[in-house]
């Protein structure tokens, strides 16, 4: 079952582009990564799904309900962690969390306590006295305390130290194991790679690729590095070879195509060392942006 169904969603702010003709599905229980550089339309997509803004054309459904007409119902089961967190500066953390919880019918005092203990959040400090990272923790707790079925995370890790990032990822994985669907937007590919099942790549407001993380890595490119005396970049002229770089007898390149062709070529050479690797998401990603 699809938790999010987006079809031909388009948003213009006056004349400037938000997103154009975006379509994708997010299945129940998956962690969907949404990656793209700044200004590609990641936040626009999320804000449309939360009905903070209204589409120019196209439509989107969450839990099978239209986001424009059924926003209020949908938001009962949604948690949102924005990329930049802003809360009522004069309030104490505990009061803000209670205010947030009061919008939902269930009593979440217990969970509030657990989450803030986990994130090492001090409940009695004023929001205005908190550092950026600590405000982010408030965001995490308030986004999760009502046990939502769908989580929108918009570049969630900025401002968190590595230790907290790890705790946060563990938390998200635990939520996901309970059946929570996660929509994870980021421009840091490492974290998407660590966490997500599937990714959508967005560029200049348009989806350029939607794919399994694994197949994105496997079916695309291999990264080869060969070392041998007297090897030159020109020796690797072959269909499917790109990005050839030669340095001090070591040549590395990307290869896409029948792996036997490259192995045949290599078998005719005298090599000291060879390695064949999956490229990182980062490297694949750069390819989409060339």
């Amino acid at each position: 079952m699809s938790v999010i169904e987006v079809s031909n969603l388009t948003k213009y702010y006056g004349k400037s582009r938000g997103i154009v003709d975006v379509s994708f599905d997010v299945k129940e229980g998956e962690i969907f990564g949404f990656i793209g550089p700044n200004g590609a339309g990641k936040s626009t997509t999320i804000r449309l799904l939360l009905s903070l803004i209204h589409p120019t054309s196209g439509s989107a459904k969450v839990f099978g309900k239209d986001v424009v007409t059924h926003g209020t119902e949908i938001r009962r089961d949604i948690g949102y962690l924005p990329s930049e967190v802003f809360y009522y500066e004069g309030m104490k953390v505990i009061d803000l969390l209670k205010y947030s919880a009061s919008f939902f019918p269930a009593d979440s005092t217990q969970r509030m306590r657990e989450l803030s203990d986990l994130m090492e959040l001090e409940m009695n400090r004023r929001i205005s006295d908190l550092s950026y990272g600590n405000k982010k923790k408030v965001g995490i707790v308030q986004g999760l305390l009502h046990s939502p079925k769908l989580l929108f995370l918009d570049e969630p890790t900025s401002g968190l130290d590595p230790l907290m990032q790890r705790k946060f990822f563990d938390l998200i994985r635990k939520e996901n194991a309970r059946g929570v669907t996660v929509f994870f937007s980021s421009h840091i590919l490492g974290e998407v790679q660590r966490l997500c099942n599937r990714v959508g790549i967005i560029r200049e407001g348009k989806i350029v690729e939607i794919s399994d993380i694994r197949s994105l890595q496997q079916n695309n490119y291999k990264k080869l590095r060969v070392t041998g005396e007297g090897l030159k970049a020109a020796d690797f002229k072959l269909a499917g070879v790109t990005n050839v770089q030669s340095d001090n007898g070591t040549t590395s390149f990307f290869f896409k195509g029948d792996i036997n062709a490259v192995l045949k070529k290599l078998s005719g050479m005298k090599l000291d060392d060879v390695s064949i690797e999956e490229p990182s998401l980062e490297e694949i990603f750069m390819h989409y942006y060339e």
Partner: protein
């Protein structure tokens, strides 16, 4: 309506309500404490005013009000109370949704399971409560001041009631026009300049309308719609102007509602 939002909104304005209430109370009571002096020396006061240029007298309604009478004096000081209430109401109107958007807390509120109309109605009711609390203080101040300082002079009770009752309708105008303007212009970055401009602007227009005589400026300014001098002189409201005022208020509220339901909440940029 969401009681959660109402409560939060009301409490966030509490300090402001207290400050405005104290200010209004001080104006009414301290001003009125001068009344015994004025009323005791009717002749001197009237002679003194007669020496002022006619334009100035008109601007302060002194050509129409006899400030040695209870209601004349009250009508005179009520202009200043009106000015305060106008700025306060303007503040609440311009800030009703724009403060939340400027401080980026709108995302927090609007991703909760509440509809836009629930949000707007709860916010409006909270602002109205805050505003009318100040009105109640102004009313109380009026009754206290009259009890303390009129010294046995008589006045028409129903006219006083009209003057007092006109205040909330007058305030509602500034709240709703402020709200509508804040939703029509792209972004209100700071509330005070807008509310001061609206409050003082309409006040000055009303004053000038007196100075220039038969110019139709009174049509647009609430200070003329609820001109204390007119109410004191006629013992009645200027019905067509009051209807105009109420119509503008209702239109502003309807426009605000329509715009807010369809509004794109600006993101951090």
């Amino acid at each position: 309506m969401s009681t959660t939002i109402y409560r939060h909104e009301f409490l966030s304005r509490l300090t402001s309500v207290i400050i405005w209430s104290v200010a209004v109370l001080a104006i009414v009571v301290l001003f009125f404490s001068l009344f015994p002096g004025f009323s005791a020396q009717t002749e001197v006061i009237n002679q003194m005013w007669a020496k002022f240029p006619p334009a100035l007298r008109a601007a302060f309604n002194m050509d129409k009000l006899d400030i040695t009478s209870v209601l004349g004096f009250y009508g005179f000081l009520l202009m200043f109370v009106q000015l305060c209430l106008a700025i306060q109401a303007g503040n609440y109107g311009f800030g009703l949704v724009s403060i939340e958007e400027n401080e980026m807390t709108a995302d927090f509120l609007l991703t909760k399971p509440v509809s836009r109309s629930q949000v707007l109605i709860s916010k409006l009711l909270a602002a109205l409560s805050s505003m009318f609390l100040t009105t109640l203080v102004a009313w109380a101040g009026t009754l206290i001041a009259i009890a303390l300082y009129i010294g046995g002079r008589t006045y028409d009770r129903s006219t006083l009631l009209l003057l007092m009752v006109s205040l909330p309708i007058f305030q509602l105008f500034f709240l709703s026009v402020g709200l509508a303007v804040s939703l029509i212009v792209k972004r209100v970055r700071s509330v005070t300049p807008y509310s001061l401009a609206l409050g003082f602007g309409t006040y000055v227009l009303a004053a000038f309308s007196g100075v220039l005589g038969e110019v139709k400026l009174e049509l647009i300014t609430p200070f003329k719609h609820f001109d204390p001098a007119y109410i004191v002189q006629h013992g009645a409201l200027d019905t067509p102007l009051v209807l105009l005022n109420v119509a503008v208020t209702l239109i502003a509220l309807a426009v605000s509602y329509w715009l807010y339901i369809r509004r794109d909440i600006p993101a951090v940029s």
